[in-house]
Symmetry: C2
Subunit: 178 residues, 2 copies
Amino acid sequence: MPDEIQLTPTSYIVLGLLSMFVGEATPYDLKGMASASVGQFWTLPHSQLYAEPARLARAGYLTENQEQSGRRRKLYSLTELGRDALENWLGVLTPEPYVLRDPALLKLFFGAEAHTLAEGQLETHRLKLAEYEALAQHDAGTGPRGPWQALELGIRHERETVRFWSEHSQTTEREPPI
Amino acid sequence: MPDEIQLTPTSYIVLGLLSMFVGEATPYDLKGMASASVGQFWTLPHSQLYAEPARLARAGYLTENQEQSGRRRKLYSLTELGRDALENWLGVLTPEPYVLRDPALLKLFFGAEAHTLAEGQLETHRLKLAEYEALAQHDAGTGPRGPWQALELGIRHERETVRFWSEHSQTTEREPPI
DNA sequence: AACATACCATCCGAAACGGACCGTTGTCAA
DNA sequence: TTGACAACGGTCCGTTTCGGATGGTATGTT
C-alpha cells in the first residue's frame, strides 16, 4: 500500500546513490557517499538522509530491513518501483534552470565594495577550484562518466568565478593562463 | 525592547531594498522591487516579504506604521539600527561560497545522457542569457554600480553554462564567437 | 576498568516554501 | 450606472528544509 508521495530532488539523490554504489545501504552510508560526491554541489543536512529513505520506503520505492544484531541499523535498497522512478527521471528533459545563491553576489548587488568582497571570495573559490581539479585529475577516464561531466561543469563555474573576482580585486591580480 | 533575532539573507534583502530605493515601502512594494531586481538570482516567496519586515520591526531594525486611511497598509522604513546592520553586513568579508543547485547537473551526475539534457538546458539558458544581456545594455552606466556588477557575474555564469551544454549537444552546436 | 574515538541516529525549534484564498480599488464597456 | 474584470494588497497555513544539539553504541587502547 504505497502512499502517494511527491519525489523531490532529495528523493532522487537517495535513489541515485543507492543505484550508483552498493545494493544496500544505511542512512549513515548514504551520508558518507553524499558528502563525498554529490554533496559538492547539492548539499543537504544529514538528517534528511534519515528521513527521506524512510519516506521512500513507506511509498514503496525502497525496501527497509533492520539488522537483527547489535546496532539494529536500517538497510535500504531499491525496489523495482524505485529503479523505474530513477530511470524515468533521468530520461525526462528538464527545462528548469539552476538556482544560484551567492551571498557575495547579494552584497555586491547592495553596494558592497567589489575589491573587499574579492579578498574573501578569491581565496574560497581558488581553493574550491583546486580541489575540483585534483578530483578531476584523479578519476579521469575511470568509472562512470556522469560524475566526471558534472564535475567539469562545476569547474567551469568556479573558473569563471575566480576570473570575475580577480578582475575586481584591488591589486588586479590575474589568473595565470591555463 | 528589541528581541534578539538572527539576520538571514532574507533580512538583508529587505534592509537592502529599503535602503536602495525609497525611504518607506509596503511589503507589496518590496515584492515588486525584489522580483524586478534581486529576484533574478535570489528568489523568495512573496509571503516572506510580509513576514520578514514584521519580524525585523519587532526587533527594532525597521519602524512600522500603518496608514490611517483606506487600505491601512503597513509602511516600513529603516531605523538607525537597521541601517547600521546593513552597513556592517556589507563591510564584512564573506568567505562563504555560493550554493549552486542545478537539477540538470544532478541528472548528469547520476547518468543521464548529456545530449538529452542539453536540449532542454540550452533553450532555457540561452533565453536567460539574452534577458540578462538586454538588461545590462539597458542600464549600462546609469544608476548604482552594484546591480550592474552583480548582473555581470550572472551573465558570465550563464555564458559558461550555455557553452557547456552546447559542447554536449548532439549536433555539436557552437555558440557564435562573442 | 577507564577512556577515547569513531560510528550511528533521532529530535526539535526555527525558518523557508509556496500556494490557496480573500478583500479592495480602479477602470472600462455595456 | 452598474457590473465585470483586472490589478492591487495581504494573510494564512500545511509541508519541507535546515542545521545543530543531543545521546546512545561498538571498538579498540592504555
